[in-house]
């Protein structure tokens, strides 16, 4: 029987299940305990699981992310929550220089089974230090896996395989999705390896992830009214990218638009386009185009913020440009 719930509730359920089923799992981060989680993802957990396993941390991103790495090495399965991707830059050293590199540097002796969750993305008028989309940076790094659950199903299903993975997994949760409601199917189990078609089409594929998925779906709906059948491919896994899934959709639709809330220069979208050029150039009927954030720190004022971000209208316009 399907149930209707929010992205927030789905993620909360996923964490609850992990904590209830595996004594090695614990949650650590700023205000995850008494406050109930910055976004209320862990409300009630402190009472249920206690302060040993629902661990409020000081404002020490470098320290507690590093401690998560150490705890993972020591036999635990930590879920480390970082309040926003911007704050994760304070912990970048531990993520890139330690978590991602340890297995290789040690010649395969030490794996780091750690899950780091963080909020990403703009759209809430939080300005330039709480709104960025830096998942593309993380997707640059060998040694970690990068996930972007964008649906209720993936919010519910991706945490378990992330925790079961022997290597560090970074999960990006777009703040614009938290109140999204939807039906959770009976089988919500998820892999952490493949892209997924969220809407089937044949004329163009819109390739996206995270908070841009609802915008892409809205654009596809508009385009359908104008006679263009757009397929929407949700990348879901940003590292390693599902090259086969991307190429299959490109080969089928022969046109592609890549939508990414990161800035265009050096973006994940750039990587996707480059791979299409390398692998599916002769399948294309038109150049691949991108809809990304404008090259500006995300501004506060609502009209400016909206103008800086990918929007459904921009996606529609980009698609139409391919048929002009």
């Amino acid at each position: 029987m399907t149930r209707t719930l929010s992205y927030r509730e789905a993620m909360r359920e996923a964490m609850h299940e992990a904590l209830a089923n595996d004594p090695r799992v614990f949650l650590m981060g700023e205000d995850v305990g008494r406050y109930g989680g910055t976004y209320a993802f862990s409300k009630g957990f402190l009472d249920e699981f206690g302060p040993e396993r629902i661990r409020d941390t000081p404002l020490s991103e470098l320290g507690f992310v590093g401690a998560g790495i150490g705890a993972a090495l020591g036999g635990m399965r930590p879920i480390v929550e970082v309040m926003t991707v911007n704050f994760s830059l304070l912990a970048l050293d531990q993520i890139v220089n330690t978590a991602a590199a340890l297995r290789h540097m040690s010649g395969g002796q030490f794996s780091v089974p750690l899950v780091i969750r963080m909020t990403t993305g703009a759209g809430r008028q939080l300005a330039a230090q709480h709104s960025h989309s830096l998942e593309g940076w993380y997707a640059h790094i060998p040694g970690i896996k990068v996930l972007a659950p964008a649906t209720i199903e993936d919010a519910r299903g991706m945490l378990a395989p992330a925790l079961a993975d022997p290597d560090p997994v970074v999960i990006f949760e777009h703040a614009g999705l938290f109140n999204l409601e939807g039906e959770l199917p009976d089988d919500w189990s998820a892999d952490i390896s493949s892209a997924r078609v969220r809407r089937a089409g044949k004329d163009v594929v819109i390739i996206t992830h995270g908070g841009s998925l609802p915008k892409a779906l809205a654009a596809a709906e508009t385009l359908a009214g104008e006679g263009i059948a757009a397929e929407v491919l949700d990348l879901r896994v940003l590292r390693p990218l599902d090259g086969a899934g991307i190429m299959a959709a490109v080969a089928k639709c022969r046109r592609a638009v890549v939508v990414d809330e990161g800035w265009k220069s050096g973006s994940l979208a750039a990587e996707v386009v480059a791979r299409i050029m390398e692998n599916a150039f002769y399948e294309l009927d038109a150049p691949v185009v991108r809809v990304c954030s404008e090259e500006v720190p995300i501004p506060y004022a609502k009209h400016l913020e909206e103008a800086a971000l990918p929007q459904a209208e921009k996606i529609v316009a980009a698609v139409k440009g391919l048929f002009a």
Partner: protein
Amino acid sequence: MTDHRAPPPPSGPVPWDKDFALRLLTDMLRIRRMEEKSAEMYGAGKIRGFLHLYIGEEATGVGALHALSPDDNIVATYREHGHALVRGMDMGAIMAEMYGKREGCAHGRGGSMHLFDAATRFYGGNAIVGGGLPLAVGLALAAKMRQEQRVTACFFGDGAVAEGAFHESLNLAALWRLPVLFCCENNLYGMGTAIERSESQTDLCLKAASYGMPALRADGMDIVAVHETTRQAVRTLRESAGPVFVEYQTYRFRAHSMFDAELYRQKAEIEEWKTRGPIHTFSARLKAEGKLTEEEFLALDAAADAEVAAAVAFAEAGSWEPVADLLKDVLTPAEGKP
């Protein structure tokens, strides 16, 4: 301010039986001879990259590590060859790693700065200054949550004290009462910058104490002081079930790495510290106390030389990791799932 450069008073008679004293002396000699040979092999082009020698600081690592048990975790820095060796790693595997050979402890993926050994709970080999401290805090957190009795000893230099990671880690360890032994090897220089030029407060124990943990100081050139202070620190740690900080005041006799022209310190200063060299001073004390003869010393030294020669031969005979395996050990293979 603390005067780090004034030699402290000697620690009195060696309070150990001959067997134990000679074991520690042996380990210092093994490190010294291995490091000398490493420098030589660097000159010969056999070892490349960065190479940071521990010569002069042997008493610190040897004295401290002999106060720990095999169940304890060790986190070290990029100047860690000695720690790895004393912890029980095979000298051949260390030398082969520095050669970049497949037979090295990390199959040539890590090199001199990244020695690791799961069997002896040796968690590297961390070449980001201060980078090992949060890791140690996490290892101790896991031990506490799993109700394991092990201590996590984290070695780092005075340079790390200026990093945010130091302060965040000491705060977390004290706040959560974690069994971390913070072992600060204060050799007075962060690369080429003297501690007075990088710290507004050069009393490092004061910094640690400000986080609410016991802070001890030992003469890092005196292996008796190092070992006895560390034993006391471990006792305190186990009794108080919280972190303890120890500062070892030591000195490196060689350059920071093989690329260092040593423009930042005077030869006279180095020579003065060499008079306090940990091997000859300890040997002299043992001889004066009748626990060591010159013949015994020469035999121990010859044995260390022989071990080094065997390690070099092992490294020389080693093979290269196939380039076809380049991408190995970036991620854990499915069958390796823990």
